[in-house]
Symmetry: C2
């Protein structure tokens, strides 16, 4: 039923090689035969079979994309960039959802079977060992938003989370808060760990320290909301909260308002990621922005580079992040801070 190369070759009166070449970028065919082939191909309605091609070329143009948090709208922004970026380069995303069973072996197998050219790990909560499992299996892996440990051999594209935390700490103090606390994502997430570390440093540099640390169960509204409720029920003493993600900040903000707490006067709130939601009128949470677009683009480019030259070593590309001031921070006091 399906039209193949041979059908086109027969109809055009040329060899199969000739047909193959017309559909291969940069192959040598005369203008005359190309015309003939193209004509026959459109008449027959031929579409090249990339599965067969992949078998012959040992390249699938498939990129495995691994995700594990579908509760965070930020993922959607990443998806949008990732999918459009990949397909603009003639690559196709093959999705793996890790929610539920987080077994590296299983997902490695899934993707190896399809011989994906590379894997993009789109998660800040997975340990570096996860990415290494892919490398070990011979799959080039790029850990998007991962931690750039110095001893490992896997590519990372993201930000310096410690720096992000430091900026957060510095900013809260500058905006006149005295007892800043930390509400991270899950304690096991490297992003949370690193942001906390930087946060502590940022506060110490200014002679302060973190009031307390608390971890939400995951990066979601609900987790942020519940965590804040707990903090308030426990009557914890704090006047500012650095949250591990905008969605957590959003949950915390809602809980705070429900308890009649005035943001930003009684409580300063800082999120992370500068998601679209944080910009919404009526929400307007101040946040630490990472250049998501640059990061995703860079990751895709890096993937291509590695494919072109597999001997290339691992590389970390870390971008700077910056404070975005919105409604959940009180204005910097006229004292000569800064």
């Amino acid at each position: 039923m399906a039209i193949t190369l041979s059908d086109v070759a027969a109809k055009a009166g040329v060899s199969r090689s000739a047909v193959s070449r017309t559909f291969t970028e940069g192959a040598s065919v005369s203008e005359k035969t190309r015309k003939k082939v193209l004509k026959a191909a459109t008449e027959l309605g031929y579409t090249p079979n990339y599965i067969a091609r992949s078998l012959a070329t040992q390249r699938t143009q498939l990129i495995g994309v691994i995700c594990n948090n579908f509760k965070n709208p930020y993922l959607l922004e990443i998806f949008e960039l990732l999918t459009s970026g990949l397909q603009a380069r003639d690559l196709r995303p093959l999705l793996v959802n890790l929610t539920g069973g987080t077994d590296p072996e299983e997902s490695v197998d899934q993707l190896t079977r399809y011989r994906v050219d590379a894997v993009i790990l789109a998660s800040s909560t997975l340990p570096t060992s996860f990415a290494q499992a892919f490398e070990k299996a011979g799959l080039p892996c790029i850990h998007l938003f991962g931690r750039a440990a110095d001893n490992n051999n896997v590519c990372v594209v993201g930000i310096n989370n410690e720096m992000g935390g430091e900026i957060a700490g510095k900013s809260l103090i500058e905006h006149g808060y005295q007892k800043p606390a930390f509400l991270g994502g899950p304690a096991s997430a490297t992003s949370t760990q690193d942001r906390l570390k930087g946060f502590e440093r940022g506060l110490q540099n200014r002679g302060h320290s973190v009031a307390f640390t608390h971890f939400a169960d995951n990066y979601s509204f609900e987790a942020g909301y519940d965590a804040m409720k707990t903090l308030l029920a426990d009557r914890r003493d704090f006047d500012a909260l650095f949250c591990g993600d905008d969605i957590i900040a959003m949950g915390a903000l809602t809980a705070a308002r429900e308890n009649g707490i005035c943001v930003p006067d009684e409580l300063g709130l800082l999120g992370f990621n500068d998601t679209e939601m944080s910009r919404w009128p009526g929400v307007s949470v101040s946040t630490i922005a990472q250049p998501t677009e640059d990061i995703v683009r860079s990751a895709i480019e890096l993937a291509q580079t590695i494919l072109a030259d597999p001997s290339r070593g691992a590389e970390a590309r870390l971008y700077a992040c910056k404070l975005i001031e919105r409604g959940t921070l009180k204005p910097i006091s006229d004292a000569k801070s800064r």
Copy 2:
């Protein structure tokens, strides 16, 4: 470098067929050879090559998934269900992002090249002609949340949008609103068109009519917010608003509050989809729920059924939807309505 079937066969001292059979569900191999093969395979670290297998079997186990609105968090809920549902059945989603250039031909080509077994069109805004383009190309297509036109030959799994609209109309009246208006998604979306139709009918049945209709540019917070701002600036006369989606309702709600309008007393608000966000404390928008989980599961099952029996005709599976009462509708007046 990569281990192949032949390597395993050689090591195990059996034929290539024997190895193939051990890795094929339900093929005939003796326990003895299976053991030998498995042993050799694990020692060598063999992983079957699904690309090669696909070429031989004419089945890729790939399902094309097409999306076009990454601004709506509802999509994330769908993704979660879709990806986990597919991989539970040993199918893999191959993503196509339609945002930007919405060219059917192009995406048909992309997916035909990879010989996906079927296509799931996850969008309520695309015309039915889009789905038909896939069918014409020989790709079984399931239009998730699509319109079930009676004359077409493509599968649809979703809800009866007219019925959803009718429930909305009925509910607004029952809750005591007098001048209900309609704020849909883009006017070109079949879901919006059908919901409007049902809405009008629902109102008429109770002796009312729609105050006016307005269409947001797309299914997004921003579009809902902007639309509401326009309506308010124009001093439109309405006391209830049926929105085409929760995210639009959310934008509208925010705009209304900014203008000091009291919801639900001065303005009733009704969303659609019962998204997680609509349940958030502090948001709590009343909404029309569709059984998303059932719908997605059903779509996947239908895909499998069609694959098993390609001669099967098109089929529409429409689910009922229902009102979820939350904070944006005033309580039903003690008058004897209902």
